[in-house]
């Protein structure tokens, strides 16, 4: 065998690599737990676990660490290589092989969850019907053709595209969208009321809409759990015959901004990213029970009417703690509640690989039971043989 191939093989199947990777996992968990104080859980998940290299900041020192994808990926390679290299189809090794296979499924499950899971929320008021959920942190520039009196035609441009300062051209739009400026976290004030800070003065002024009278002050990104980054952008719409003007867009702006072009009317807004569903939920009633004589919450529940446009489903469901609604590949968990305003907040999760951790646990349980069972049987057989030989 080629010495290079052999050394790569030996590296991949090495038990020493397994131990080093497990030790690195411990360090990663330790560092990310401390980093969570400043960054919050979401940023920690993204920067430490869903990355190849994590940077841990301790005071003013930046310490590079292998990220979750690197450690997990190498562990997976290590496990798979060892599995293949040492594979012997023997009954007495079936338990170990099943356990290791379960571990592989578990690692893959985490990878797929990181890649595919969608995590949204849906806030509904009593009597209101909604057929979309909203992101916890992503925004989108919605350019909505409102000409049709019944239907809106929406082109949703993710904020990551605006942040990249790209020129967006789409067949459904008779103009191109150019980002003149994008700020991921901002505060707004009335321009004539605010003494402009240097940062606010550097922001381009919109030529159309309310933006010309608004001062935008960029803020540092926040990672706190109870705060949200609220972006603002100045976008220029460019038609065939030149610029149509530039607009300031921000979720902070309450008033809709419209324009007429090519005989159609459009609304432009930067809003929390939406995910529309092929069904709708109407909130019938929220219930917030407390233990008698105390303010301690006993139960939160939301009575929901679930309907599909084709009439196939039209039923009431009760969502409460630990009793989510599972429908259409989505899971709706009771997440927040403001019973004084008759509002409920549902967490909406879609994870096509949600079954994998369960399958992995079942495989590992059976693998270990099989392995211990076989060992026990061998042990008992050995003892009996020993006892017989002593008697003889």
């Amino acid at each position: 065998m080629n010495p290079l191939v052999r050394s790569v093989r030996d590296f991949c199947v090495s038990l020493r690599l397994t131990v080093i990777l497990l030790a690195l996992s411990l360090i990663l968990v330790f560092a990310s737990t401390l980093a969570q104080v400043d960054l919050g859980i979401y940023a920690v998940q993204e920067e430490f676990y869903r990355s190849f290299v994590a940077i841990w900041q301790v005071g003013g020192i930046f310490i590079p660490l292998p990220g979750g994808y690197l450690v997990g990926g190498l562990l997976l390679i290590n496990l798979l290589s060892a599995h293949i290299y040492r594979l012997k189809l023997e009954w007495r090794k079936a338990g170990i092989q099943l356990t290791h296979s379960g571990l592989i499924v578990l690692l893959l499950g985490e990878l797929f969850t990181g890649l595919w899971q969608e995590d949204f929320q849906m806030t509904i008021s009593e009597g209101e019907t909604k057929n979309y959920s909203e992101s916890f942190r992503l925004y989108e520039l919605a350019i909505i053709d409102t000409t049709d009196p019944k239907m809106d035609e929406v082109v949703a441009i993710p904020d990551s595209k605006l942040a990249g300062a790209a020129l967006v051209q789409h067949p459904k739009l008779p103009f191109r969208v150019a980002t003149k400026a994008y700020y991921p976290n901002t505060t707004l004030a009335r321009r004539d009321a605010a003494a402009l800070s240097p940062a606010a003065a550097a922001v381009p002024v919109a030529t159309r809409g309310v933006g010309s009278s608004v001062a935008v002050t960029p803020l540092p990104l926040t990672y706190k759990m109870n705060e949200m980054n609220v972006p603002s952008a100045v976008v220029e719409l460019i038609g065939d015959e030149g610029s149509l003007g530039s607009w300031l867009v921000s979720p902070h702006l309450g008033a809709p901004q419209t324009l007429s072009h090519a005989g159609r009317t459009w609304r432009v807004e930067l809003r929390i990213a939406r995910a529309y569903k092929p069904f709708s939920l109407q909130l019938l009633k929220v219930t917030h029970d407390i233990y008698v004589g105390t303010d301690l919450p006993k139960n939160f529940s939301s009575r929901i009417k679930l309907t599909t446009p084709d009439g196939r489903d039209d039923r009431e469901v009760l969502i409460y703690m630990n009793n989510p609604l599972r429908y259409g590949g989505y899971t709706f968990f009771q997440y927040q509640m403001d019973s004084s305003r008759g509002q409920t907040g549902l967490q909406v999760v879609r994870n096509p690989s949600w079954l994998l951790p369960y399958i992995a646990c079942i495989m590992m349980t059976f693998g270990l039971l099989l392995q211990f069972g076989l060992s026990l049987r061998a042990f008992i057989a050995k003892r009996r043989a020993t006892a017989k030989s002593v008697v003889v």
Binding site: P149, P251, G342
Partner: protein, 192 residues
């Protein structure tokens, strides 16, 4: 493995999407109507809205106005239905100080519906003033061919509150009495 991760990570970058949806109806006013009830005319939705912590005005919106969620810029926001057309928009905002004074703000509103700035002398005759619940209201009403603005400027304890209704000119003619009645419900928080 790394290639799988890189390529799959690329798939996570969201793309431009398009879809058709039914027009949204503004959220039912019932959500906002859960606040403490105010004593007011029976035609009102009985929604006293505490707008900010501390020194903030309260008001009672007409029953047919549909409350929209307040934003960082707006203390109150309503969709005012019109006959068949898009709803008119009512905003309530507040800023510290005099925000440049009445003429600057009224001319800013005029600019929003493509009207030329008016001189101080013209504005002096265009502003209708009245007092209610200890507050001074400066009310203006102007229109271009399509759009009309009904506005009120209310100084209150070192800040200035703005109430502005923008919509189709013909529709706001019908809405003006309700707008003026609404202004009469605007009160300092301690006023019964």
């Amino acid at each position: 493995m790394a290639a799988v991760c890189f390529s799959a990570s690329g798939c996570r970058d969201p793309e431009v999407t398009t879809y058709r949806v039914s027009k949204e109806t503004p959220p039912a006013a019932s959500a906002a109507a859960k606040g403490p009830a105010a004593a007011g005319p029976t035609t009102m939705a009985n929604t006293t809205v505490p707008t900010t912590d501390g020194e903030s005005l309260t008001w009672t919106a007409p029953a047919h106005w549909q409350a929209k969620p307040a934003t960082a810029m707006r203390k109150g926001s309503y969709a005012v239905p019109t006959d068949g057309g898009p709803p008119a928009d009512l905003s309530i905002t507040a800023f510290p100080g005099d925000v440049g004074g009445e003429p600057a703000n009224i001319n800013r509103w005029r600019g929003q519906i493509q009207l030329a700035p008016a001189s101080d002398a013209d504005l002096a005759t265009a502003i209708t003033r009245f007092e209610n619940s200890g507050l001074t209201f400066a009310v203006v009403d102007f229109e271009n061919a399509q759009q009309r603005v009904l506005g009120a400027i209310i100084p209150f304890r070192g800040s200035t509150w703005f109430v502005k209704l923008t919509g189709p000119a013909t529709e706001l003619t019908k809405e003006k009495p309700a707008f003026l009645a609404f202004l009469k419900t605007v009160k300092p928080p301690s006023t019964p």
